[in-house]
């Protein structure tokens, strides 16, 4: 059994038969699961990641549906957004793959029109702010080097949501669902069983490629070179190398336009950089004022 990411009351009824198991689960739940060492991959050839090549995406959303199906995520409701063919809008606690559509239609030369399509997902940052932030240790780097939210530990504090510079994480509804933070698991359960993640498996054109990131990065660079040779000089890799301040991504992209067109941050901030300084400043002011208070109290007056 794997952890059920999100369970609604609706679904709970379906599990009534397993009430006993439920009771056991909540009993064990009363004690915080203790921490164990997670074996870490030795090098880039053991870290598994994604290379999403937007020039190969045909916008079929197979990845989005495969992810929902495999992970049993609920539908987000019927909302017509008008964002071209995108009606889910963004990643969320219940949408871990999201296909973005951006129309760039030429005024005169119909040969030049484009429709940008990108299958967005958690970037599995090598230095992930969400992981830094997580106070419960729910977010870990798993044995495949992927950023993983342990659903039985997360208590829904929401820090990771604010920390992620890509707006990936979301918190499931507290009323109806479990109230925990959720995002792509990089199909850790499938990986453990030697399977390709559901989204990559279902991608008909290999726009989503899955593999050891070391090899993926090489392949990605070759692909960009090829595209440049063919005259597509706008193609570039996003997150293959560090994005300025921000470490490289284990789930990186090949883009053909400005990152913001795909709703990706241009240079994601690394909010934990300079954390020490900020603590120092804060403590200093606190100490200073306390000291001042002491001086004032000490004065006869």
């Amino acid at each position: 059994m794997i952890s059920l990411p999100i369970i609604s009351s609706e679904q709970n009824q379906h599990f009534e038969r397993r009430a006993l198991q439920d009771a056991m689960a909540s009993l064990t739940n009363a004690f915080p699961p203790r921490r164990r060492e997670v074996p870490q991959p030795a090098d880039d050839d053991q870290v598994m990641g994604f290379f999403t090549d937007t020039t190969l995406c045909i916008g079929c959303k197979a990845c989005e549906v495969a992810c929902k199906q495999w992970n049993q995520l609920p539908s987000d409701g019927l909302n017509f957004t008008g964002y071209s063919y995108d009606n889910t809008g963004r990643l969320s606690a219940t949408t871990w793959r999201h296909v973005a559509f951006k129309e760039k239609i030429a005024e005169n030369d119909s040969f030049q029109s484009r429709l940008l399509m990108l299958s967005d997902v958690c970037k599995h940052c090598q230095s992930a702010p969400c992981q830094h932030a997580c106070p419960t240790g729910s977010i870990v780097y798993n044995q495949f080097g992927d950023v993983y939210v342990q659903n039985d530990i997360c208590n829904g504090c929401g820090y990771c949501i604010a920390a992620c510079p890509f707006g990936v994480l979301g918190r499931a509804d507290e009323e109806h669902d479990d109230g925990h933070a959720h995002k792509c698991t990089l199909c850790m359960d499938r990986q453990e069983d030697g399977l390709t993640p559901a989204c990559a498996k279902s991608c008909p054109t290999s726009s989503i490629q899955f593999g050891p990131v070391g090899q993926l990065r090489e392949a990605a660079r070759r692909r960009v070179e090829k595209l440049h040779e063919a005259g597509h000089d706008q193609a570039y890799l996003y997150g293959c190398d560090p994005l300025g301040d921000y470490g490289p991504l284990n789930s990186f992209f090949l883009l053909e336009d400005h990152p913001n067109e795909y709703n990706l941050p241009e240079a994601p901030p690394q909010p934990f950089r300079g954390q020490g300084e900020r603590y120092a400043a804060s403590l200093a002011v606190g100490a200073l004022l306390t000291g001042l208070a002491a001086v004032l109290f000490a004065r006869k007056g």
């Binding site: 794997i2 952890s3 059920l4 439920d22 909540s26 064990t28 539908s75 889910t88 359960d189 054109t205």
Partner: protein
Amino acid sequence: MPGLGASFGRGAATGYQQDLANSDCILIMGSNMAEAHPVGFRWPMKARQRGATLIHVDPRFSRTSACCNLHLGIRAGSDIAFLGGIINYLLTHDKYFPEYVLHYTNASTLIAEEFRDTEDLEGIFSGYDEQQRAYNSGQGRWAYEDSQAQEEHVGEPIGETAPEPQGTGGAGPQRAGRREPSSAGAGMHGPSVMGGASTHATARGAPTPAHPPQDPTLKHPRCVLQLLKKHYARYTPETVAEVCGCRPEDVVRVAELLCANSGRERTSAIVYAVGWTQHTTGVQMIRAASIIQLLLGNIGRPGGGIMAMRGHCSIQGSTDIPTLYDLLPGYLPQPICTANHEKFADFCDQEGLPTGYWSNFKQFAASLLKAWYGDAATPQNDFRFEWLPRIDGDYSQLPFFHHMTRGRVKGYFLFGQNPAGGGPNARLHRAGLARLDWLVAADWFEHESASFWKNDPTGPRPAEIKTEVFLLPAASILSKEGTFTNTQRLLQWHDKAVVPEQDCRSDLWFVYNLGKRLKQLYAGSTRVQDQAIQALTWDYEYDEPPRLPDGSLSRIAGEPDAAKVLQEINGYFVKEVDPQTGKRKLLSGFTDCRDDGSTACGCWIYSGVYPAYDRNRARDRRTGDNPLQPEWAWAWPHNRRVMYNRASADPEGRPWSERKKLIWWDETNQKWLGFDEPDFPPDKPPSYRPPDEAQGMDAIAGDQPFIMKPDGVGWLFSPAAKDGPFPAHYEPVESPFGNLLYPKQNDSPTTRYFEGPLNLLDHAPSRQFPLIGCTFRLTEHYLSGPMSRFNSWLNELQPEMFVELSPELAAERGIAHGGWCVVRSARGAIEARAMVTNRLKPLQVQGQTVHQIGLPFHWSYAGESVGCQANDLTSLVCDPNVSIHEAKVFACDIAAGRAPGLTPRPTAPYRRWPTQAAAPDTSRSAQAEGQIGQGDCRS
């Protein structure tokens, strides 16, 4: 399909989808392949990755356009003009493949002197009968020189007297129809167009000579190439651009790209789907593409060909073993009451051909009858040929529903079809259903056709509908077994994984048990007309109780053995015994078929799929080094993956080029060798020349690749289509424009109309409805929607019915993006969300600005996500060949606002989880820090 059959001999895609990866250039036109065939689209993407050029010509800029190197927007329904422009370019610039054209096509053949082209008769060909609105190709002499003229049969119209009122169809303007249905004879598929045996080319008595008079210099004014040149002389880039609404340079650009990527070293492919077929001129669009591919020498070669992207998973199968009223399995024609089809011998003489592969017609037909009637069928009693029903009118779907609205049909079986949503002019279809006495629908869902009597917001009150509706729960794909025949003729067997839930049963179960009960019912009858049912072989019981993959016994009683059905389709020797099993020996292929009653074969083209009882080749799933993967399932005919592949070698049998070699003549072994099964007699040398009086396959020379054709070559000039031997541009039935190329003839002269109060038309040039509407598919939904609109994972991706329109049009009509608008046509009105997008562009056509709008046809009133349906706007008109409708173009108008009273209400509640199953179990927990015991911690 018919366009392909008429050109090459078989009505199916010429190659296989994976082969698109080997193309140097792919023209996708009339297809939205990335959206409708996303999985197959990996191969064009692969080609693109390897440097090929992908071109999409489509009225709308879609996801497919985005994936192609270039997209060209044209006016819907102007495709023949565009393709004609390319043909014109090829011919005027001498860019065709001369050796290929000379040897492998009928370019050099001389055409009868009496034949008249559209150029001569201002838009019609010779032989036109204005009364019948049909051609008599015999009279019009659409024939090779030297062949004799003979009367062409034209079917009798179905008893069509005074127009009766149409059904209880609901609201809508009542207007008297202008034209009543025309001849019923037109509209039958006819084996010729589907790639069947007979041809309209010539008189039956003196069929097309295998070696008709020719002019190898291609100079003779009556040779096909010169006629073609003349026919397309006025399709200049400028004229074409005027008609299509593009720029002349665009036409030239596409033509240049195709030329630069064709020839000995390179090949181009053309991909089409229903963006072409669903037109009154659809068959001719495909014909035009065939002409281009023949001229460029792209047929039968790797990376070449014409890929027809068929729709449903086994739609190819449903024409091979047809669900059509006028065909028998394997493209044998259904006998017709007005033709000389009394005796079996006459039938075979009439419909078979003396030369080419169809000379085996009698073997195939006899084996079919033997399979159906078993011991009752013998050579002495003509195999009981008289038991086959004779066609006396057009019973294809659309005319049939037309009759239904007039109350002429009592009952109807619907197996996996939803005409109330997917049928063009769906309101007419619903009105038809409402006049039935009973309707049996076997389906997975309570779809529109099963719930029309209560949920249709446009329909009458339930109390007014007398139809008794029976909804039978059909088993899902996972709980039944059988084959699919996909778009590349590949038969793939799938096993049953689980038993059907509750009362669900497979379609095979329903049909088999229905048949058993009918046989029971008629068992004691002595009437002649019941003998066929009595004699019908109907024994597909399992030998042993069927088991599921996990070894458990199935709880379903009476389930027939699908493998036995496939074995009968494959065929068997009636007398010979298989030594291993003691059962009747199975045929190894259609070459085993005999006409002496010793063989039975349910569908000759499928013969070979089950050559031995332990060998179901449709079940093969082996891959190897051969990129054609011949051991992955089985393709008809005879596992040939690229049809007409003899054309991949030059007349001498050498590959046209090293880069594009597929099969070749091996001198040492005296055999055709290569990657594919040769679609040619395997040991006929290229040098073979038939003796003068040769018959059958002996009449086909060693350098004639199109063995299904009596003269062994591809047909640039094809009399097989009922609307002309050459494609000519006609405007759609509802078009805002006149025909620039043939001003006297707007619509196709053979279009069949079914006008009536429920099917009003706004004939071209349309004035009342100035916009061009075209319908299309979205990846996220499936057809009329029952299979997708009950699923919230899909519904969230495309939650509402919308209309795509350009910002210019939106501004003109005051329509806001995302807001509501109402679309009207002569048939009705619908409301939808407005998707204002630059992907649609106003076009300049004949000096006028015209707007096109696009409507997905996936929504209707049953399901979790519901909406008004595009098919309430489309019309019922039929092309003469296959009775296809024109859902891809209609005249309409659009306004901001809503259409009160038309908004449907969901019939199923919104469910966040479309499946109730738990998350899939995997063998280990997904817990990074170990199994902590709350694998499924639920709060």
